[in-house]
């Protein structure tokens, strides 16, 4: 990276490409990430999930505002355990009418129209109460995103601020913060979350606090290590010599240089938080009355042995793909943002 322009001095520089706008290190990292096909695929997957989560949020808000029972909560016992639409041969020429039970023969346009309509009805099947699995899956995505984002909003500021303070000031401050996170790290995570859920009561708040308050430890440790490394660097000493305040040095000079750690940690902790939420909801201390993925798995397992596989399969697939996408993306981001790899270029 050092000699990108070579040892040219001003006269040479004037004759080169001219004053194009400078590209920062973030821009460089983005360019590197864009060349990474798998990472871009994962970014797309994450984007699709995000859109689904936003759509789910919209549906949820809409029904809350109208004060109606949302469609994903409405039960239709007569449709219970309807298999996914693609298994019901929606485009067959002879169809049984849902209401009368008569066989109706269709052809041409009417057959296609009926087929499409049939395809859109319970596309991922229905559960034991005749609720649409796809809609519940989307609501599950909404809950998963809420958990991922809110726990990150709790954990990242705590981890970053404490990590920066410990690393930069050292001494007593460092001792205290290391003691604090060691204490948190020593408590078994699940027991800690259970304890918090007991205190604040069942529901999402307990999940947020429980996961958020355990997740900052890893980040804090990483940031502390990075800041210790950076505070000896010449640019920090230079900033001190220039009379820039400690606060500005930490948050304007050092933090942007270690921020890649935060991004990578976020992409790796986000799916972990989702997994924890699923597990807690499965145990019954997480989400209440909302279709979380964990609750769906918990419900689906009851009838799995009777061949009702779709609810379980689609939820598991949804979790699998989001966790995979986030983890691969996290790895690619680490490669794209890691300054050591950049030096080697």
């Amino acid at each position: 990276m050092g000699g990108s322009t070579g040892e040219v001095e001003m006269n040479d520089m004037d004759s080169t490409t001219g004053p194009a706008p400078g590209r920062g290190l973030w821009g460089d990292a983005w360019q590197r990430l864009r060349r990474h096909r798998l990472a871009m695929g994962c970014l797309w997957i994450v984007g699709i999930y995000t859109i689904l989560a936003l759509y789910g949020e919209g549906v949820y808000r809409w029904h809350q505002w109208r004060d109606t029972t949302p469609s994903y909560q409405r039960t239709h016992v007569e449709h219970q355990y309807t298999p996914p639409s693609f298994m019901r041969t929606p485009f067959a020429s002879v169809q049984v009418d849902r209401n009368t039970g008569e066989e109706i023969e269709r052809s041409g346009v009417s057959r296609v129209v009926y087929g499409l309509r049939e395809l859109a009805r319970y596309p991922f099947g229905a559960d034991g109460l005749g609720r649409d699995v796809l809609q519940r899956l989307i609501q599950g995505t909404r809950i998963a995103y809420q958990v991922g984002i809110i726990t990150s909003l709790i954990a990242i500021p705590i981890g970053v601020i404490l990590g920066c303070l410990a690393g930069y000031f050292g001494g007593r401050v460092d001792d205290f913060i290391v003691w604090l996170y060691s204490t948190f790290a020593a408590i078994p995570g699940l027991l800690f979350i259970l304890a918090i859920a007991m205190v604040v009561g069942q529901g999402l708040l307990g999940v947020y606090l429980g996961i958020g308050l355990t997740m900052w430890v890893g980040l804090c440790r990483l940031i502390r290590g990075e800041v210790i490394k950076h505070k000896e660097r010449a640019y920090v000493v230079a900033a001190q010599a220039l009379g820039i305040s400690h606060f500005k040095i930490i948050f304007r000079h050092i933090l942007p240089n270690v921020f890649h750690v935060v991004i990578v940690t976020f992409t790796l902790r986000f799916p972990a938080a989702i997994g924890t939420e699923v597990f807690l909801s499965f145990l019954g201390i997480g989400v209440q009355g909302e279709p979380s993925w964990g609750i769906m798995i918990s419900n689906a397992r009851l009838r799995l042995w009777h061949g009702i596989w779709w609810e379980m399969a689609f939820v598991t697939a949804a979790i699998f793909f989001i966790v995979l996408a986030f983890n691969l993306l996290g790895d690619a981001l680490r490669d794209a943002l890691d300054p050591r790899l950049r030096e080697q270029q």
Partner: protein, 272 residues
Amino acid sequence: MPASPTEQPLLTIEDVHVHYGVSRHLVKAVNGVTFDIRPGESVGLVGESGCGKTTLGRAVMRLTDIHAGRICFQGQDISDYSGTGLKLYRKHVQMVFQDPYGSLNARISVGKAIEEVLHVHGMKDRNQRHEKARQLFEAVGLDPAYMDRYPHEFSGGQRQRIGIARSLAVDPSLLIADEPVSALDVSVQVQILNLLKDIQQKMNLALLFVAHDLAVVRYVCDRILVMNQGKVVESGTPQELFTQPQHPYTRTLLAAVPDVEKGLAERRIISS
């Protein structure tokens, strides 16, 4: 521009000691150094690696604590300074660092880096800051059109120019240059030395030039101090030192200066 000897010294260093490590492994990096610098004077501090010259520079900058002695700037002991006092002191005394690659923050564009210093030292108006940064860029021979660029887009020599511009932003009266050219190519070294010399004369700056290379110091400085094992062993004008070196250490240092005409065969290595 040698100052008149009667003038009040700008910086006084009296019997300064800086130690590293603890009791049994104590390293006396600076072990009783005394000298002073007058306004507008350029003083060279020369010695081999580990002789304590960089530590002394850092001590003057208040980046390292001293364990004994006094460093006074304009008659005021600087070790008392903290907070605003220290900030004010750093408006008067600035430093150019050895490593042009590491001393600029890779995440901040070079123009912003200079404007930040101006902001910290009280220039609140953004346009004024921008204008001043442009002037500084021009003063060190860089095209202000490149102010939005990031450090990695510049060469070592250009980055050192940016480092100099940044340290000049506060209009200091004393500039400490800690091996400012040792990380650069020989061809670029001369350009940076010329720049420092020009600026020193134009702005009537006092310069404390720390280097291990006698030839470099001779080129820039009015007076040279030779340091060895934490002590100043000899001082004088470049003329005196080069023609009649008194101390044996100075002689070995002089012998180590590469001389193309002499050839490598006659060069001696400094023995400890």
